[in-house]
Symmetry: C2
Subunit: 335 residues, 2 copies
């Protein structure tokens, strides 16, 4: 049906091998023949068959990306970073919207042994670390964004949760708050834990006693934040500020406040995390933390592609990127 490399070769009066060299711009083709071949390719509108190329060269120039939900700005932005870097390096990106199903994540991971992708990037995966390690041990290339695992073959990229959480709580304390609540995400997630750590560190430095009753968890979604705040309000310890582990849950907090007639920030200061696009349009605009999502995606894609091309390992492969705390009206005492 379509053209094949031999057709081009015939037309240009050379062998298929030479055409292939031109295609992959190998240095050892004379200018003159190269020109002939390129002309033939153009005239015949020849497009090399990817499958054949992949099969013979043993690389597909494809990256897989697994995220829980594309329609959450945080993940979309990471994907953009990955896609753009991949594009610059002539890679393609296959996406998996796992819908928070570990099972679906696992099915997509099978693209690795199938050789349908050269590498896989997981964003805050739910799947067991043990399974990831198995893949890595078998020589597959995988990277993780959003958390760190302890495996020498699995690079990771994340932000310094402890650091920015410390800054957030420090800011709240400076605003005069002492009764500061914390709403985490999934109880056993790294983010939840590390952000709590930064929270406690700030309290400690300011000699404010830590009260376990001020800690609650949601599920990183609006509903979870809503429920968590209601529980905190019902408890006996009064609170004047709340640090919420992500913006989605902060939306739930806003909703709860609206229903309960609690004014932000007068009655309750609120800070979230992620700098979701929504946050600056809220009333009041939400203080939050800008995570360099795009950058994290791009860095991870670049590192993995480097590894695939050079097949070399860098010793250091855990990247921790700085975040920026964005102060808006939701956490600032009115004059």
């Amino acid at each position: 049906m379509d053209m094949k490399i031999v057709d081009v070769a015939k037309r240009a009066g050379v062998s298929p091998a030479t055409v292939s060299r031109v295609l992959n711009d190998s240095s050892l083709v004379k200018e003159r023949t190269k020109a002939k071949v390129l002309a033939a390719i153009k005239e015949m509108d020849y497009h090399p068959n990817s499958a054949a190329k992949h099969l013979r060269s043993q690389r597909t120039m494809m990256l897989g990306v697994i995220v829980p939900d594309i329609n959450v700005s945080y993940f979309a932005e990471i994907i953009k970073g990955i896609e753009n870097m991949a594009y610059a390096r002539k890679y393609k990106v296959i996406i998996c919207d796992s819908d928070n199903k570990a099972e679906k994540e696992q099915e997509y991971l099978a693209l690795l042994p199938n050789r349908a992708v050269d590498a896989m990037i997981l964003v805050t995966p739910l799947i067991d670390n043990a399974i990831l390690y198995e893949y890595a041990d078998k020589g597959h290339t995988i990277g993780i964004i959003g958390k760190t695992v302890t495996h020498e073959r699995i690079p990771s990229c994340k932000t310094d949760n402890v650091k920015f959480s410390y800054q957030v709580v420090d800011h709240l304390i400076e605003q005069g708050h002492e009764q500061i609540a914390y709403i985490g995400g999934y109880p056993d997630s790294v983010e939840t834990y590390e952000r709590l750590e930064g929270y406690m560190k700030a309290l400690k430095e300011h000699h404010i006693p830590f009260r376990p009753g001020l800690i609650d968890n949601g599920d990183f979604e609006e509903e979870g934040g809503y429920a968590a705040l209601l529980r905190l309000l019902d408890a006996k310890t009064p609170i004047t500020a709340v640090y919420v582990a992500n913006d989605e849950m902060a939306l739930g907090v806003y909703k709860a406040c609206r229903e309960k007639g609690i004014r932000i920030p007068e009655d309750l200061a609120v800070v979230g995390v992620d700098n979701n696009r929504i946050t600056k349009y809220l009333l009041p605009p939400l203080s939050t933390v800008e995570q360099p999502k795009y950058t994290m995606g791009a860095i991870m894609a670049e590192k993995l592609i480097d590894r695939l091309t050079d097949n070399e390992f860098e010793d250091k492969h855990h990247f921790v990127i700085d975040s920026e705390v964005i102060i808006r009206e939701s956490s600032v005492r009115k004059a």
Copy 2:
């Protein structure tokens, strides 16, 4: 390095052909041999090589999707619809974030003649129709979401812009408005035009004269909406309501109003389109139009996959889906 189909065949004591049949669950394999083969596959942890499969079978089970910006909820939701349907049908999805660059769209289109994807879905493409027609004429499978083109081989899926725009403007008129402005998107886009059409139809039915001075265009982005509203305010004709062709631009309108001290909806009623997640958190919550984004993605993926598998054409291949107008506070007269 890895296992090959012959290894499995040897282990199971059958020929590669039989293993292949089991893999593609062909009906003509005895239960007993099938079991043997499956056992061997499991024991050896065999994973068929995709490239080889694609090469021989001449299909890659991949769909390409081109969108202007993944981090806009409208597109993310469409992608989700596509990905989920693809997943159910064992297809994979390659994404392109074109960043509104026609050039990048065109580069990704080359995946078709390269046979890297079996079909391509374009969402509101910027690229020339002529180029799309060329691909379609060459026998490539492409589909379009968000607009319709007149080519018998290119299916499309969109919402009834005229209809819901009519409903929106009708609603504004019922609220007592007569000086209703319209802010379109890209001047030459189908959406811009069709939504204007619905606007005019509503005016006409209510015997309200059409004033060209009340029409302006943005670029479907926040900035464009902002600038357009400022221009409308500067003009001599006073306005009491504005219908904005998408929510992004409506955000710009909100910004302009905030700066100018214009109250919504008291001084100016506003309605957008897309039901962007942000809209319900705005103050006041924005009236908008819910487009069945997920459904559009899923339908288009399904139709294209059907076409790829049966290789049959349906006569009717332009799908127009109904949208729902969502009335919120931004367009309702206060009591």
